[in-house]
């Protein structure tokens, strides 16, 4: 009997509880992925069309709801595109407050991602620790803006809320705490066997491929491209704060982990600097509801990479056209390249590595062309499959947890001696 070498695995689509559901058709050769065909659009809500019938200001808060994690940077980018059309200047204090919120958003997004990576690698302790620390930065964001995620801080040519009094010391102290935590996690991922086995030499892509496929953000920086809008085309107060652009050349998922933790430290430094050097002055300029005719585009560095907004006005109360492009869309072709050559067990870790915050794992069906057999796995089963694939003799006890605790205790003992 002849066996067909390839099998087709439909992957996804979705669980609507998480954002960015995607569907992938995976062509497998045994355990290896040889081709991936994407299908997105399951949560396409027609924001661009909706924007054409809404007032300029309303659109700002609608576009903020594009994403449930990096919400602020969307309103910032849309706002900047419109501000260029109005010819009003943004006050300096507002620029600093924008920078502070944007960097805090990056910190909470990166922490969320590191936690998810721990979860999918089978190291749930990391997930719980990191998400606990994430509350620290979310509390700060709440104290400044009144909201945890959808901050609604932006207005045209300014921000809506001033920094509260006497927050400076608290923010600097919390940023120092987060920096220490990030350094500790960096040590954990570099020494902990669970993370090393699951992430090293996985998800490789060449620098040339990433550049050709127009990768953005951490996905470009982890192969050594110095691509960061904050550096290349500074907006808000990024031309005045100390900017540390992190790049790595290892180019695997482990490098992405290290890169994002280092970026977290860099972001904490920016926040501390901006808070300590916050200029005085007004926070907002009133802008009339009618925006002059013209077209302009703006791009910003979201936690996941560059986002892009194009705005066209015909001089009315509503935009003529708004185009928005999110980083996951730009990174998807690169992610497909990363998946090729990996095993089925690596899918969760590689797809999470591009930071799509995906819920497509929750329902997954498999199709074997040899036997015409179909079966379905839940996300948890796939995760377990991945963990068992790498640690077949692993018992139920949480080895990762005990080892990390041991190493931290040993280190402390050594230091005290």
């Amino acid at each position: 009997m002849e066996y067909s070498a390839e099998s087709l695995v439909p992957f996804g689509p979705i669980h609507p509880a998480l954002k960015e559901p995607e569907y992938f058709k995976l062509v497998l050769e045994g355990e290896r992925i040889i081709d991936v065909i994407p299908r997105i659009g399951y949560v396409h809500r027609g924001l661009e069309k909706a924007a054409e019938s809404r007032p300029w200001v309303q659109n700002m808060y609608m576009f903020e709801r594009t994403c449930g994690i990096c919400s602020f940077v969307h309103s910032l980018c849309y706002g900047q595109a419109v501000e260029e059309l109005t010819l009003f200047q943004v006050p300096k204090r507002a620029k600093y407050i924008r920078t502070i919120i944007a960097e805090m958003e990056r910190i909470h997004s990166h922490l969320l991602w590191v936690g998810l990576m721990g979860h999918w690698a089978g190291f749930d302790t990391l997930f719980m620790w990191v998400w606990n620390d994430r509350e620290v930065v979310l509390d700060l964001v709440e104290a400044i803006s009144g909201n945890r995620v959808h901050k609604s801080m932006n207005a045209f040519c300014g921000v809506r809320r001033d920094m509260p009094e006497n927050m400076k010391d608290r923010i600097v102290e919390r940023m120092k705490f987060l920096t220490d935590r990030a350094r500790y996690y960096r040590e954990v991922i570099d020494t902990e066997e669970t993370m090393l086995v699951r992430t090293e030499n996985i998800g490789r892509v060449s620098q040339d491929t990433a550049e050709k496929l127009c990768a953005v953000g951490p996905m470009a920086r982890y192969v050594g491209l110095r691509q960061d809008v904050r550096l290349n085309d500074p907006y808000a107060a990024y031309d005045e704060v100390p900017l540390d652009i992190v790049t790595t050349t290892e180019g695997d998922v482990h490098a992405l982990l290290r890169l994002r933790l280092d970026e977290l430290v860099a972001s904490a430094n920016i926040v501390s600097y901006a808070v300590e050097n916050l200029p005085d002055g007004p926070i907002r300029v009133k802008v009339p509801p009618v925006i002059p005719a013209g077209e302009h585009s703006s791009h910003c560095e979201a936690p996941r990479g560059e986002i892009f907004y194009y705005v066209k006005s015909s001089g009315g109360r509503t935009p003529e056209r708004v185009k928005s492009r999110q980083p996951t869309m730009a990174n998807l072709p690169t992610a497909l390249e990363m998946l090729k050559g990996q095993t089925l067990a690596d899918i969760p870790i590689v797809l999470t590595a591009i930071d799509p915050c995906f819920g497509c794992m929750d329902r997954m069906s498999f199709y074997d062309t040899e036997t015409n057999r179909r079966w379905t796995w839940s996300g948890e089963e796939l995760r377990q499959y991945g963990v068992n694939h790498y640690f077949p003799d692993r018992s139920k006890k949480q080895r990762g947890f005990t080892k990390a605790i041991d190493s931290s205790i040993n280190r402390r003992q050594r230091e005290s001696i």
Partner: protein
């Protein structure tokens, strides 16, 4: 004006078009459909403007405008081209910029422009598979949200 933009300006004059500076760091250049591929190839291969941010579609009445939004460090370069609405066919630049593949699919979904040369041009990317063939592409100015709702059997929007 950066070195790249100066060179681009010279090249644009050679092929009979002009780089217009919209604002500091933002320029736009219009090219015809038949010259588009040569122009983009020069931009990407010779001037090393390799990062395509996205492709924007615009409905301007008789024509559909396609804007290729490139960026190089501080500069944003919009390469504009237009196709008639009656025959919405455009050349694909996937062989020059492989990263354009999904943006072109999006353009096909949202404006109904057929991208000749795109390997995945017959697949849908953002619209649902069951999107009716008689419904016009959603981002055309003539397509109204109520029309889509009625055709899909959804209730009309509240006044």
């Amino acid at each position: 004006m950066s070195e790249t933009l100066t060179q681009l300006g010279k090249y644009a004059e050679e092929v009979g078009t002009k780089v217009i500076q919209l604002r500091k760091n933002e320029s736009t250049v219009e090219v015809t459909q038949d010259r588009l591929k040569v122009f983009v190839a020069h931009l990407v291969n010779d001037l090393h403007v390799r990062h395509l941010m996205t492709i924007t579609g615009l409905d301007v009445g008789q024509n559909l405008v396609i804007i290729y939004n490139f960026s190089l460090e501080r500069d944003t370069i919009h390469v504009k081209t237009s196709v008639p609405k009656t025959n919405p066919q455009a050349v694909s630049i996937v062989d020059i910029v492989p990263g354009a593949i999904l943006y072109e699919m999006e353009l096909h979904d949202m404006f109904g422009i057929e991208l000749i040369g795109n390997p995945w041009k017959d697949q849908k990317l953002l619209l649902p598979d069951e999107w009716p063939a008689d419904l016009p592409p959603p981002l055309l100015k003539t397509t109204k949200p109520d029309q889509i709702r009625r055709r899909l059997g959804l209730e009309a929007a509240k006044p």
